[in-house]
Symmetry: C2
Subunit: 323 residues, 2 copies
Amino acid sequence: MRIVERILNGDKRAVARLISMIEDRNRGALKPLSELHARTGNAHIIGITGPPGSGKSTLVDRLVKSYRRQEKTVGIIAVDPTSPFTGGAILGDRIRMGDLSTDQGVFIRSMGTRGHLGGLARTTGEVAKVLDAFGMDKVIIETVGAGQSEVEIASHAQTTVIVEMPGLGDEVQTIKAGIMEIGDIFVVNKADRDGAENTELEFKAMLDLDPEKKEWEPPVLKVIATQTEGIEELREKIEDHLTFLKSSGRLERINAERTKTEFMEILKTNLTNYILERSIDKGKFDELVRQIITRQIDPYSAADELTEAFEIRAGTSNSDDKD
Amino acid sequence: MRIVERILNGDKRAVARLISMIEDRNRGALKPLSELHARTGNAHIIGITGPPGSGKSTLVDRLVKSYRRQEKTVGIIAVDPTSPFTGGAILGDRIRMGDLSTDQGVFIRSMGTRGHLGGLARTTGEVAKVLDAFGMDKVIIETVGAGQSEVEIASHAQTTVIVEMPGLGDEVQTIKAGIMEIGDIFVVNKADRDGAENTELEFKAMLDLDPEKKEWEPPVLKVIATQTEGIEELREKIEDHLTFLKSSGRLERINAERTKTEFMEILKTNLTNYILERSIDKGKFDELVRQIITRQIDPYSAADELTEAFEIRAGTSNSDDKD
């Protein structure tokens, strides 16, 4: 059976295979992704991000179990941009999710960085689409860390949860400033530790600094994930946010914007491949590289030269076709 | 006076201005960059990377002072991909380098991530070129962290120094595996702490694992940067590596490869801009976005459609020009 049919029939191994193809940037993934597009748009994409040690993994584990009790199916994409390893290699993740991984209503995948970081954001988006088409009600994108890469990866989420823990120092403040604006819900995890109130107040103070009065006021929740305290409330807040997104028309706007961005990215790759494969004069290219190295020409002027040459070539060959 | 002339006349403020333009992706930076290309290729680009807390900043400070005693000029690019702030904002860096920043033979710049991570690697490469053209003998690219982004940024260096400190746990092992292969010199900083020998042995063991017998055997150095111990040896090893690169013909090969990669990147951007600005039918683009959202078409097929449409348009308009 074809991979798309197998995925639509609920075959997890087919899902895993397609994801591996996506990670490897195997062009064979494009056709299945094309075909699955029509089946996407139903999942609620939830981003969960926070620094290492904030207890995100346990939090996600408990949240997923809470969703399962509600009979929602859940896909989990655990992204670690600092890891050169992918899924199979991160044994810890598999073990940690042990009791979930045998549940037919749950699909777990760890992703590191094969290839470029820039690529990871796109790959994550494509994997989320596969899990969406696979019929998962919720797709959780969990990112380790709290830097720019997390912000980019989180840009695929419709609801973004920022997790912190008490007692992180000044260094974190800097990071927070960068990610506060993407948070829809804030969680102070390990709330039984000293300083939980302080962290909560800091979050609230930073939210108050936002001059823009928002339709959605991001709640700050205290959670003790290891004891499953505050998890139900978190799930309810996530659902509240989805309801808000739908009723305000914002979900539609977010989806439209992202579709446009995503399409533009695909179009750029497509055009570049098309041109580089067919229309660039290889001899000319190599000659220009030589001239750049010897400083006879600079790379910007060389690129202009080749771009202009391309225009003529495309035109000429097309006229030829018509004759 | 024009910015390029001011830079070539040793005006640091002009350098700072051009770098800001590069960071802002201001297209006005392209012409100066083009013009400066002919003056590049003389600096030795040194990458220094390692996890937070490994004492990289102090190490770089001492190394720069050592180079200054040799009457070498030094440019420093301090890159922190997790920081949303750029140069001016990271006050700590400025203070830390206080006594260096008044030295005419030293130029310091901190860079965070404005915009995309993928962009940071490219921006860093361009800034290194500016400092090269500015006449710096050595350009040090210092990156915080030890993940994939550092590997990408370090790809601009000709000599890469990996800094570690004693007593980091298993988590670091995973990261090391990803970056060991890019290291030309390994430093165990804070070598007066417990566990320095262990860290040194670990480094050596990992290097021994490398099945490929290399012409250059990466040395492992013990350094106490705060006490300027081992700094002279580090500088000498860096110089040894440069000598090796030159005598083995490897420097030439590295530079040729990078020129090719860089040129390809510039060409891609150029072509994409060219096409998107002039040749794409905006009405058609918007209509396709609408159809993707309503799932009448998938983004991959839509991109193919637009790519094919472009081919015809370019051909037609070109034929018209000729008539």
